[in-house]
Symmetry: C2
Subunit: 320 residues, 2 copies
């Protein structure tokens, strides 16, 4: 299934979201304007703003509020990427040099702050105290998830529970904000707000599991960044966790986290690729996809519901 097909009912409004995002480029500070242009034109699939718009189509679809909300969600995502790249010292993302690579850590921090601020301006245009508070709470959750990940780096002793907590904070929380805010701003009944929140949560978990799988089985070309990026940051993701559970006697990962050497890195990637853990991870991602789709059953049957189901399929089947 193509994304453009899934996005059919929101295509025009998604283009308006992109226009809103591009509007932030107009500032009287040429350097800043250039960098803003670079980051907002950086591609990306637009999954988060699409979620807001689709979640907003079940009741009173009001673009006046859904548009700034969708822009806000996407911009918060962009801001976290700019900060993450500075923190991880990542030099390439989506096949292009990162802001960190081009300008270093300091401007990345300040540009990220600027983007958070602009995301905050967009969300304030919803005039809805509930989603405005959710926006800030989500940013707090994401930052604490990232902090958790940073502090746990290069530690082999981690539980699945810790993994799920971490990806819930750093990824699923923003998916929840996207869907929940869409529901709230379209005046959905509380039961539907909850259903769309749960859809967002389960979809976000599935999304991150797939990201963590692709980090091993994708190619650099598909990923737009080096294979094994998480490992090189010392981040223990689900595939490696399952590998450690399955082969507790194997010390490759431990050696990698101790010595950070290229050989152990390559061996770990090979081990993951050639073991059944990838299939196990896919099975887990599919469970979350199924839970996500199940959450939708209480919602009115319409094209959006179908699109959300297809989006969940797309997310699990994607190659990048």
């Amino acid at each position: 299934m193509e994304l453009s097909k899934i996005y059919e009912s929101i295509q025009e409004d998604l283009a308006k979201v992109k226009d809103s995002l591009r509007s932030i480029i107009k500032v009287d500070f040429p350097w800043l304007s250039k960098q803003l242009g670079y980051v907002v034109r950086g591609g990306g699939k637009g999954i988060r703003p699409a979620l807001t718009l689709l979640a907003g189509q079940f009741y009173n679809y009001n673009l006046k509020y859904l548009l700034p909300m969708a822009a806000s969600v996407e911009l918060m995502h962009t801001a976290t990427l700019v900060h993450d790249d500075a923190i991880d010292k990542s030099v390439v993302r989506r096949g292009r040099p990162t802001i960190y690579k081009m300008w270093g850590e300091e401007p990345s921090v300040l540009l990220g702050d600027y983007l958070f601020a602009k995301a905050g301006e967009f969300v304030s245009d919803t005039h809805n105290p509930r989603v405005i508070k959710l926006f800030s709470q989500t940013l707090a959750t994401i930052s604490s998830g990232e902090l958790n990940q940073f502090l746990g780096a290069f530690k082999v002793e981690q539980t699945r529970q810790q993994y799920f907590q971490r990806i819930s904070s750093k990824t699923a929380s923003l998916f929840c904000l996207a869907t929940e805010s869409g529901a709230i701003l379209s005046e959905a009944p509380e039961e539907s707000v909850k259903a769309l929140y749960e859809y967002g949560y389960n979809l976000g978990i599935a999304f991150q599991i797939i990201d963590d799988i692709l980090d091993f089985i994708g190619t650099e070309e598909e990923l737009g960044k080096p294979v094994g990026s998480d490992l090189s940051q010392g981040t223990l993701t689900l595939p490696v966790m399952l590998l450690l559970e399955r082969y507790p006697e194997n010390n490759t990962v431990k050696r990698l986290f101790e010595h950070k050497d290229k050989k152990s890195m390559e061996q770990t990637i090979e081990l993951v690729r050639n073991s059944p853990v990838i299939e196990e991870c896919y099975a887990l991602a599919s469970e979350y996809r199924a839970k996500a789709c199940h959450s939708l059953s209480s919602l009115p049957e319409n094209t959006s519901r179908q699109a959300l189901i297809e989006l969940a399929e797309y997310i699990v089947e994607r190659k990048n």
Copy 2:
């Protein structure tokens, strides 16, 4: 004049602001909780939250909204300090090691993001779309001011106009937010909102000029950080600008920015201290103080107006 005397009418409510700030420490993440405790108990004069409360005392003083606003303003300030220290690689602030010194750049970035988020949560509790938008706009202004400063570092060719633009963005904007939001949340008429905004702007400029003076004439003990911090970051502040205007043939500053050597640094500090530029800077700060106080003339005469006048005096006369 003592700060405690100036704060007399808001003393109790300022204590409540501190309680609100301390409430963010309660999180189920021990490392984060400890760092939050460290930063929110870090001292500081509480000038920004005091401004919000005092500005709120002219019309309908409603603590339900002024309290989260004051907490939000202070927390945004704290967040920017955490990021600034990481960017400037500052190891000491207010006489204590910085988060950067203790944990490094990456946790500083994420902790700062977390603090921005909590500031955003507080401001959302005002339920006032106008101040919520102002909050985000202010953060954008501060970040772009800091970016400007970073990109201009170690450049001697800068105009006074650029200096005032920079300090307007990085410092005065938050003073404006503090006073303007206090006025808006107390349902002040637009004329008074404007007057309090102007007071905040001029006070903020005076405040930063004094900060830039103290960076040269203060002692490390008074400042709680090394003398000449700005210079060591390559930041051209008003005293050095006036020095360059007055002695265009002297090459000490140019040499310092080219070689970043200790000797040129000490010579520049000595030059500034022993020249009339400090007096000129004080005269300029006093002009802005006078403008700030003049802005208050249209407001009702009450104890708050007197306190704001005294606060402006305090700011110009302070030693740290």
